[in-house]
C-alpha cells in the first residue's frame, strides 16, 4: 500500500446542521470516528448536485473545525461560500441529507513542538481552517494572533467561539465596512516585528498568499499557507491542481496541491511562475 491519501475514506456523511452566517453557510457533517484523522489544513471532497447531476467533479472544502460529542459522534465544520452551481447546491441542502464525501485529504498545517508566537491570516472563507488550527496551537501554549480580511464585512467569517481560541483578532475590509479599511498585509511587517512572530499560517486567495510570502521572507518568518488551485480529483490522480514548487536544490517541479498541499511552505512556491507555461521555466 502507498502512504498517499492514507487516512482518506469515501463514505456518506449526514448534514447535522446548515446555518447561514453572513455570506456563508456553516455546514456540520457527521463523520464518526474518522474525525480523529482530520487535522487543521486537511480538506474534504464532496459530490454535488445529486444523482442525475451534470456536475461530475467533487468540490473541495477546507475542514474548519472538528468536534467529537456524545450526541453526534465525530463532526466536522465547513464554511461554504455560495458561488457557482456546486456550492449553491450544497448550501441549499437540508439537515439529514447524506453527502458522498472523501476525507481527510491533503497535507495539514505543521504544528510547532514548542510554544511560539503564531500569526494566522485568513482571506474570505480562508479563515475557516484557521479557527481549528488556533485551537490546536492554543492547546500547545502558543500565542496566536489573527488577521482576517475580505472585500466587504459580510465576507468576514469569524464565529464567536472561534474568537475565543485566539489572543487577538484584527479585521480588515477593502471597503472599510468592518474593522480597518485596507488589506491584511497593510501593516503586516510592523505586526511581525512588534509581536515577535515566529510563524505565519495563512489561507485565502492566491494573490494574498503571495503577498504574505514576500513579507514573510523579507522578515525571515516561516510561512505555511493553504493554497486553492482548481482540482478535478482531489486525490492526486489527474495532475490538474499543480503549482510550481522549488526544492532545496533549486529544482522547480509541478507539485499537486491536493496531495503535496494544500498546506505548503510559502517560500517554496514560485509565485511568479503560477499560471505560466512551465516549458519556459
Amino acid at each position: 500500500m502507498s502512504t498517499i491519501n492514507k487516512s482518506a475514506a469515501q463514505f456518506l456523511a449526514p448534514i447535522i446542521a446548515n446555518k447561514r452566517i453572513g455570506s456563508y453557510h456553516q455546514i456540520i457533517l457527521g463523520v464518526g470516528d474518522l474525525v480523529k484523522n482530520c487535522r487543521p489544513g486537511n480538506f474534504i471532497a464532496i459530490s454535488v448536485g445529486g444523482d442525475s447531476s451534470r456536475m461530475i467533479l467533487r468540490r473541495a472544502f477546507a475542514i474548519s473545525r472538528t468536534s467529537d460529542s456524545a450526541q453526534y459522534g465525530g463532526t466536522i465544520e465547513l464554511i461554504v461560500a455560495p458561488h457557482g452551481a456546486g456550492s449553491r447546491w450544497l448550501a441549499s441542502q437540508s439537515e439529514g441529507t447524506e453527502l458522498d464525501v472523501v476525507t481527510p485529504l491533503g497535507t495539514a498545517f505543521g504544528i510547532p513542538t514548542e510554544p511560539v508566537n503564531a500569526l494566522l491570516i485568513g482571506g474570505g472563507y480562508g479563515s475557516a481552517p484557521l479557527f481549528g488550527l488556533a485551537e490546536v496551537l492554543k492547546n500547545r501554549g502558543c500565542r496566536t494572533d489573527m488577521l482576517l480580511g475580505a472585500s466587504v464585512g459580510e465576507k468576514i467569517y469569524a464565529p464567536m467561539e472561534g474568537k475565543r481560541s485566539v489572543n487577538s483578532l484584527q479585521i480588515f475590509t477593502e471597503d472599510g465596512s468592518m474593522g480597518e479599511k485596507g488589506r491584511v498585509t497593510s501593516r503586516l511587517e510592523a505586526i511581525i516585528s512588534e509581536r515577535a512572530i515566529d510563524i505565519i499560517y495563512s489561507c485565502g486567495p492566491m494573490p494574498m498568499l503571495r503577498a504574505i510570502t514576500e513579507i514573510a521572507q523579507a522578515n525571515d518568518v516561516i510561512h505555511q499557507c493553504a493554497v486553492e488551485e482548481a482540482m478535478a480529483c482531489g486525490v492526486g490522480i489527474c495532475m490538474t491542481c499543480v503549482l510550481p514548487v522549488k526544492d532545496e536544490t533549486g529544482i522547480i517541479s509541478m507539485k499537486r496541491s491536493c496531495i503535496d498541499g494544500p498546506v505548503i511552505d510559502g517560500s517554496s512556491v514560485c509565485w511568479d511562475l503560477v499560471g505560466k507555461n512551465p516549458a519556459e521555466f
Partner: protein, 310 residues
C-alpha cells in the same frame, strides 16, 4: 466477484481477470488509488503516458468542468521513462497489479526509444501507444490525425517489440474516418486498439473573456462523450471485427461499461469517473458482472460486440 460470470478477457496475448482498467492519465501511476481499493482487484492499471524525458506539462488552469464532462490540458507532465521504470513500475508489480504502460513521444523515433526501454523491463502486460500527441515533426498536428504519421509510430514500436508484449494503439476520435486510421495502425502491427482519447474542446472564461485553459484547447472527457465513444467502437469493430478494442469514454457505471462492450470493446478503461469517485472502478466492475448475469451471459466474451449480431 459474487457472480459466476467469467469476466476474464484478452487483448492480443495479454490475459486479464476482469475487463475493467484504469484509463491512462486518470490514475497517475497507481499509488494514489491504492488507498481506496487493492490494485490487483481490477483488470489492469494503465499508467499515465510517459515520455523519454521528465516533463512539466502545461500552464494552469489545466481543467474546466463542462456539462457532464470536463476539459483537461495537462500536457503529459511526468517523470520520464527512466524514473518510471525505476520507481513506478516495480511498485505496481509489487502490488500484484497487471500493468499496461502508456507511452507518448514527439517524434516517431521517440516511441521506438521508449519501446526499447520497455522491452528490457519485465512484468508489463501490454504497451498502449498514445498517438494523440502533437507531432513536432509535422506542425504539431497530433499523430493520430494522420494515417501515415500514425503508421510510422506503430512501425517504430513494432520494430522493437517482436510480439513479446501486445501493442495497443490509442486513437483520437477527432478524425474524418476512424476506421481508416484503425486499419492503418493494424496493418503496421498494432495488436489491439484503444478508443477513444479525449475530444478536442474549449471553454472561454466569461470573466477574462479569453480561453480558460492555460493550453487554450483541452481534451473533453466524461459522460458527455460516451455516445461518441460507443459510435467509434461500433464503427471500428464493424470494420475490423477480429481486432480487440480497449474501449473508454464516459464510463461511470456498469451499464456504461456494458454499452461499450456490446458495441465491441473487449476491455473498458475508466478515466474521468475516478475523479468524481475514487472507487468508481470497483463499483463498475461489480455492476457489470451483475448486468451480464441478468442477461444470461455466462462469460464476458459472449457479450463483446453483441450489438452487431443478428
Amino acid at each position: 466477484m459474487s457472480t459466476s460470470v467469467d469476466l476474464s478477457t484478452t487483448l492480443g496475448d495479454a490475459w486479464f481477470p476482469t475487463p475493467i482498467f484504469t484509463a491512462s492519465g486518470c490514475a497517475s501511476n497507481g499509488k494514489e488509488l491504492a488507498q481506496f481499493f487493492p490494485l490487483k482487484d481490477i483488470g489492469a492499471v494503465v499508467t499515465k503516458s510517459v515520455m523519454t524525458k521528465p516533463r512539466h506539462g502545461r500552464a494552469t488552469p489545466r481543467m474546466a468542468e463542462t456539462p457532464s464532462g470536463m476539459l483537461n490540458s495537462i500536457g503529459l507532465q511526468g517523470p520520464g521513462i527512466d524514473a518510471f521504470l525505476a520507481n513506478d513500475l516495480p511498485w505496481l508489480i509489487s502490488q500484484g497489479s497487471r500493468v499496461i504502460v502508456s507511452i507518448a513521444g514527439e517524434t516517431s523515433d521517440e516511441y521506438g526509444v521508449l519501446a526499447r526501454k520497455l522491452r528490457a523491463a519485465s512484468g508489463i502486460s501490454a504497451i498502449e501507444v498514445n498517438i494523440s500527441c502533437p507531432n513536432v515533426e509535422n506542425r504539431g498536428l497530433v499523430f493520430a490525425a494522420d494515417s501515415d504519421a500514425s503508421c510510422r509510430v506503430i512501425d517504430s514500436v513494432r520494430k522493437v517489440i517482436g510480439g513479446e508484449i501486445p501493442i495497443i494503439a490509442k486513437l483520437t476520435p477527432d478524425v474524418t474516418d476512424i476506421a481508416k486510421i484503425a486499419q492503418g495502425v493494424v496493418d503496421s502491427g498494432a495488436d489491439a486498439l484503444a478508443l477513444i482519447n479525449t475530444v478536442l474542446g474549449m471553454v472561454i472564461n466569461l470573466d477574462t473573456m479569453k480561453p480558460h485553459l492555460g493550453g487554450k484547447t483541452g481534451g473533453l472527457s466524461g459522460p458527455a462523450i460516451r455516445p461518441i465513444a460507443v459510435r467509434t467502437i461500433y464503427q471500428v469493430h464493424n470494420a475490423l471485427p477480429s481486432i480487440p478494442i480497449l474501449g473508454m469514454g464516459g464510463v461511470a457505471s456498469g451499464r456504461d461499461a456494458l454499452e461499450l462492450i456490446l458495441a465491441g470493446a473487449s476491455g473498458v478503461s475508466v478515466g474521468t469517473a475516478s475523479f468524481g469517485n475514487p472507487t468508481a472502478i470497483m463499483s463498475i466492475q461489480k455492476e457489470l458482472a451483475l448486468l451480464l448475469q441478468a442477461r444470461g451471459f455466462t462469460s464476458l466474451q459472449q457479450a463483446i460486440g453483441y450489438a452487431h449480431r443478428g
